[in-house]
Homo-oligomer: 245 residues x 2
Amino acid sequence: MVKITRYKKEDLETYCLGATVSMEYLNIRPEKVSRVYLHSAFHESETKDKIEKICSARGIPVEVNDKAFSILSQKENCFVIAVVRKYKCELDKNASHVVLVNPSNAGNAGTIIRSATGFGVPNIAIIRPAVDFFDPKVIRASMGALSRVNFKYYNSFEEYEQTDGAGTRYFYPFMLDGSKLLHEVTIQEPFSLIMGNEATGLPSSFAEVGQPVRIEHGNGIDSLNLPIATSIGLYEATKGRFGRV
Amino acid sequence: MVKITRYKKEDLETYCLGATVSMEYLNIRPEKVSRVYLHSAFHESETKDKIEKICSARGIPVEVNDKAFSILSQKENCFVIAVVRKYKCELDKNASHVVLVNPSNAGNAGTIIRSATGFGVPNIAIIRPAVDFFDPKVIRASMGALSRVNFKYYNSFEEYEQTDGAGTRYFYPFMLDGSKLLHEVTIQEPFSLIMGNEATGLPSSFAEVGQPVRIEHGNGIDSLNLPIATSIGLYEATKGRFGRV
């Protein structure tokens, strides 16, 4: 009998709340799924069949356990929970990266993960202090796309710069007073799009890093929100790459 | 003595939860603010002075009332609530618009309002059924930018098209199978960027409306989230407009 407790950062396991999110982990990283809880009210037979098929093939225990839901999920529409063993990733040193300096909000982190996946930049460097990417709120906001990205924590930007950010690489810090407009810069690859904290942005020292850019907008708002700015950066940096479908 | 009740859609008043959000309404639409509640634990003297100055000049009652907070706000860091009388807006018929077809999520609506304000497109048409833009959750997620936009509801896209959307105007429905890539289209003004519902997107009939566009992304995700797609559309449609600061 496994004891079910609410998620804490120091836990060795985390939770995918919901069928879509759980399916992503079962499809992309099934070897990390240690068990699946189903709610007794879960009746989407097609999804249920898929889950049971993957779990059976992989020897992953599936258990109807309504108590797990009352402990782990506040959402009414959550009927599947995949329990995931935490794992370590390495960034692809030759690929483009998103660098998040002190991101603090779980929902924002999840939205950024989803966009980074969509725009084909699934390597995310995170500079501490920062939100815990294994927090179930992050995984849920990413709609499970966390399973598709490499992410790694660093104690400082310097540590990133000297390790996985070393070598030929083009840095673009996003700053409200960036010296060039994003759309006037030709973004070279591999790039590192560097985004600051939600409330405070990047420290002014980043003005000396690579090519600082700004997204032009009017003065009706102080700034765009972090996932929006990051996604516009990713859009601009990757457009034309995927070609016509 | 005013009776304070939790927000309902049919109420004639709504609430700005938080100092930043309340300040936006006090600055931009003070004539709509009927009273301001302060929490007894509110000690930011600079903001407090500003609020009291505007309210005094406008004859807006200010009241320390902790009960209002326990009824209206679940957030711990909310110390100011501005009560706002609901109002009707007209769209600027000659300006560019954002058209939201059946938006359902309050947080998303707020984020879109903030981006539309930032990109200088403060005219939003909303096709019913849709989230209530006066919901305090929308106002809060917009960080008060709702005060800066014109928004109006229509019972159908046809109603919009025949009224405020009539005349010379370029329609760009955003669709996963849009016939052109966003960045390959020259967006003409005044434009209407047309965005579908979070879960279902636009009905396929919009393939016949104006120039359907798609934002290219890889297949690791089903779609970008709605505020992200809308903001990328706004960025692409307005870039170069604000000039260099």
